[in-house]
Symmetry: C2
Subunit: 190 residues, 2 copies
């Protein structure tokens, strides 16, 4: 028997924000150790604890028959020469996919799997990016406006943030004199 | 092991159309028996085999770890006093959910489950509608512009169109002098 009834959530197509629901917010202080330039991070944090990104989390049962969805908004800016980004995560049930549909802004989705394959896909308005199962994924704002995406994944997938927090990603996305560069992460370890 | 690589599809945020992929199209002639006013249907068909709606289908493995997604575009108009609509379907794996995010237009999502519960949710730009498992769902354009939605569901869910083709929905959405009316389907049988 169905125990969830049909429902609607408002998610603004331009800002990504909802009038009816509270977002989860990640400030600079929530991202310790995630950016490569630790000195730049500490100096910025002394000035202001910026809002880096926010997203919506639904409270549905963790069932494989259900889906979780919402928007993610990554605000523009850099920490050192590294663009604002989400923590990124694997799914706890590793082999579960996710879809990101870009509503506005200019960004990249950085992905890697435990087998060593990595990939980036551009996020621009109208791009629907498929993150296959097994791929950790992080949104990065390489533009000057908020990066807004609509995402959907299986409700039982779960989030594994710890692996990324410990190991980082194989690749970093840096700004070098206005050019977007994909560089090796010197701290990354197998 | 992952056998699908990350990929991107372009799906225009305004029109819903893709430049890189061919849509599946449903013309009036594909909808025989779906509209309640059969005489109006036959008369319209003699004049023109209109395009009622189109949508995108991805070719991914039917695995519960994958997701299928795309856009659906229902063009405005009526057959008799019934608004243009999709055939609608149950999922073959009945207890699998779907998400519809409305990008433009003005519509309704009509839903019902085998237990007899039915529901409508409004589709307007920025509305994200959750179709829980077990609910058949049909998009209906009650406005004057194309109704464009972005949808996501589990890749193994499958489509059961036959049940709706045989039994119809419990409810019909009609126009009565410019007002949207939800009326009982006289042909519906348990």
């Amino acid at each position: 028997m169905a125990n969830i009834k049909p429902f609607t959530i408002d998610l603004d197509l331009l800002t990504g924000l909802s009038k009816s629901k509270e977002s989860t917010k990640r400030y600079l202080s929530n991202m310790k150790g995630m950016f490569s330039d630790e000195l730049a991070y500490e100096n910025l944090l002394k000035q202001e604890d910026r809002l880096l990104y926010e997203f919506y989390e639904l409270d549905l049962p963790n069932k494989d028959s259900d889906l979780l969805f919402g928007t993610s908004i990554v605000y523009p800016g850099k920490v050192g020469n590294e663009y604002h980004m989400t923590k990124g995560h694997f799914h706890t049930i590793l082999d579960t996919a996710e879809v990101y549909y870009c509503l506005s802004g200019n960004g990249m989705l950085l992905m890697e799997n435990p087998e060593g394959d990595w990939d980036t896909q551009q996020l621009k308005p109208g791009s629907a990016v498929y993150v296959p199962g097994r791929y950790a994924h992080r949104s990065i704002n390489v533009g000057n406006e908020p990066l807004v995406t609509f995402f959907v994944f299986r409700a039982d997938a779960g989030h594994d943030y710890g692996t990324i927090e410990e190991k980082g990603y194989r690749k970093l996305i840096h700004d070098k004199n206005g050019e977007i560069q994909i560089v090796d992460n010197p701290k990354w370890q197998e």
